[in-house]
């Protein structure tokens, strides 16, 4: 009862337990619960501070009808220790009204005002001041409000009551924005007995991959990104994601990509549903897949790179891409492993085989000519015997307004090691090593 003082509440219910409100944590818990609800339907969204709204179109038959689905959901929430009020109705607004102010069951299709009419105006989700005004005028039920002419109603109370009535009765659409956007390619396994072991998870995943790959084959598609969602009995969802560099529907290959991550699934007290979905797919014909499976096309390289990326990280495997830039660190950049490669423009002067990630400022000893005769590198003094250069490289002012021009030299020490040095604003830097 909002606004009631704690002392009054205690007088009514002596065993009352009280705690501080924590809206942030409440909202987080609601989000978790919303993710968990994607076990029932992919279209789940949070609704206000304390509600969830699910679009179950086309779903109830999986559970044996709408009434049976509500019963299943009620039991599932009860297992989580959540006392939920549930309703299924034609519109989101009607479901909201029926869950909170009606009987909380399945509202028969096309019920309209004969069922919803007797509900209080609060069931319309009106702003509190409008609802209060309506009540004072004696308009306590939805039916009473619906009988009034619309124009004066709007003039007196603003557009909200009419708008809400229309939504309730399905005269205007109310979109649900889902928290998780569902993928059209999915396979799910509902587990009668919650699973706890890695072996069982492996088995279910293989089964799901088989099913999903069959589905993809029927539509001549291959997966580029897959997500595996594990729904725990305690209401948590854990998600693993993998990507492939080329479309695949080989269950064995996709399983290998998941394998290293599977240990990170914590089954808790058990997983009672697993859902596998392909977020990104591409057309893939049967013959392409056969070639890829035999590894004939590329000798298994694409699959090997997928495995490397799955273990080392997506950005840890890359190819060197030539860029239209003469600034040394920008001439080459990392590109995805199968990006179309560009040829390199031959440089004006020799380039080192190894470039340091960043130019390193050098500690130098100048000789009699004023040129560096000794550099300190890897904790050793290195006597330079020759310096070739300079090659002046100017910064690209539109990219690096703060950079100064650099004068590059190729220097050789007494052991024949050759360094790529540059001078910028009278400071010497080491930028690369020659072979």
């Amino acid at each position: 009862m909002p606004g009631m003082r704690l002392a009054d509440a205690r007088a009514l219910v002596p065993e009352l337990v009280n705690g501080d409100a924590d809206p942030v944590a409440d909202q987080e818990a609601l989000q978790t619960l919303c993710d968990w609800c994607s076990r029932f339907t992919p279209w789940a969204a949070t609704d206000g501070d304390d509600g969830l709204i699910l679009d179950v179109s086309g779903v109830p038959h999986l559970f044996g009808g709408e009434a049976a689905m509500l019963q299943t959901m009620r039991q599932a929430f009860a297992r989580l220790g959540i006392d939920a009020r549930l309703a299924i109705a034609d519109t989101p607004a009607a479901a909201w009204a029926w869950a909170r102010h009606g009987r909380g069951d399945v509202l028969p299709p096309g019920s309209g005002l004969d069922q919803l009419g007797p509900l209080p105006v609060d069931a319309l989700r009106l702003a509190e001041d409008i609802a209060g005004d309506l009540r004072r005028l004696g308009l306590t039920t939805i039916a009473a409000l619906a009988k009034l002419p619309r124009a004066p109603l709007t003039r007196r109370f603003g557009p909200q009551p009419v708008e809400r009535l229309d939504r309730l009765l399905g005269r205007s659409e109310e979109p649900i924005s889902p928290r998780l956007v569902p993928a059209p390619w999915r396979a799910r396994a509902s587990l009668a007995e919650p699973i706890l072991t890695r072996d069982a998870i492996d088995t279910v995943l293989r089964h799901l991959l088989e099913a999903l790959c069959n589905l993809l084959e029927q539509h001549q598609r291959g997966a580029r990104q897959l997500a595996l969602h594990s729904y725990r009995v305690d209401g948590h969802v854990q998600s693993l994601r993998i990507g492939t560099s080329r479309a695949s529907r080989s269950p064995a290959h996709l399983f290998r990509l998941f394998r290293d991550q599977l240990d990170s699934i914590d089954p808790g007290f058990g997983i009672d549903m697993m859902l596998l979905e392909a977020g990104v797919t591409e057309p893939l014909t049967g013959s392409q897949q056969a070639i890829a499976a035999a590894g004939e096309e590329d000798g298994g390289i694409a699959e090997c790179i997928d495995r490397l990326q799955a273990r080392l990280g997506r950005n840890a495997v890359f190819r060197l891409q030539a860029m239209e830039s003469h600034w040394p660190e920008r001439a080459i950049h990392a590109a995805p492993p199968f990006a179309p490669p560009l040829p390199l423009k031959p440089p004006a002067a020799p380039r080192p085989v190894a470039l340091l990630p960043y130019p390193q400022m050098l500690d130098i000893e100048a000789g009699s000519s004023g040129w560096p005769s000794v550099i300190h590198w890897h904790r050793r003094r290195r006597h330079l015997t020759r310096m070739d250069g300079p090659e002046r490289i100017a910064p690209e002012w539109w990219r690096d307004p703060e950079e100064s021009p650099r004068d590059y030299y190729c220097a050789e020490d007494t052991e024949g090691r050759r360094y790529w040095l540059f001078r910028s604003r009278n400071t010497w830097f080491l930028h690369g090593l020659f072979a």
């Binding site: 590329d298 000798g299 390289i301 090997c304 190819r319 190894a354 050789e412 050759r418 020659f434």
Partner: protein
């Protein structure tokens, strides 16, 4: 204590006998696949296979950038056009520099892994993948068991494994090379190249230059092979 010394000594003897047997019988396995030569007659003549054979593991130690250049020059002629995987932890090969050795950067895929065990894992996986022309891995150290696994992986994928390492622990690799810089003319790279170990072959050492114009190795001098090679061992 005495017991242990004796055990160590006998382990050493067994190892010596093993290596003698393997030298007498060759690699213990007939290498029937392709061989990739250096296209420098002296280097190729020192190798029983006339080059580095497919399906095998080789090691390189020495000056890291020189090894990179030496490998780039060699790989430019190994299965041209086919991809090469380069597994590294710190320095990335710089494509414009590799181009001077004839190696097209478009053949390269780089795999970056900080942890040594990840690099070894990636090396083994890639060696089993027949599509790569060669796989290079920079691994600080690897023990005998690990190199055996890598050698087996190279055999199964018929790949060419090139292990760039820092230590000189016993290894199952077919050859070990040491590449180091020598004072040159400052323009073309000059290296002392030592074949330190070669299964079924003899150690040898050369002074080698790389000619950027013709993209070929050029022998400057054959060093007093035995003494230098023996010193290196």
């Amino acid at each position: 204590m005495v017991q242990q010394v004796q055990e160590n000594a006998s382990a050493g003897v067994i190892e010596q006998l093993r290596s003698r047997i393997s030298r007498l019988t060759g690699s213990g396995r007939v290498l029937t696949g392709k061989t990739f030569p250096f296209h420098e007659p002296h280097l190729d003549a020192a190798l029983p296979w006339g080059g580095l054979p497919a399906g095998s593991l080789h090691e390189l130690v020495g000056h890291a950038p020189s090894i990179t250049g030496f490998l780039a020059a060699f790989l430019a002629r190994v299965r041209p056009g086919r991809p090469i995987l380069w597994i590294t932890s710190e320095q990335q090969p710089y494509a414009p520099g590799l181009a001077a050795f004839g190696l097209d950067h478009r053949r390269l895929t780089i795999a970056w892994a900080r942890r040594p065990q990840d690099r070894l894992w990636a090396f083994e996986d890639a060696l089993r993948t027949p599509g790569f022309a060669a796989v290079i891995a920079e691994v600080d150290n690897a023990d005998l068991t690990e190199t055996r696994r890598l050698q087996l992986a190279a055999e199964s994928g018929n790949g060419l494994g090139l292990l760039v390492r820092r230590d000189a622990a016993p290894s199952a690799a077919l050859t070990r090379w040491r590449v180091d810089t020598v004072l040159g003319d400052g323009r073309s790279p000059r290296w002392s190249v030592t074949l330190e170990r070669c299964r079924g072959g003899q150690p040898a050492s050369w002074l080698v230059e790389f000619d950027h114009a013709s993209l070929h190795f050029r022998l400057v001098a054959a060093l007093a092979d035995r003494s230098l090679a023996a010193a290196a061992e």
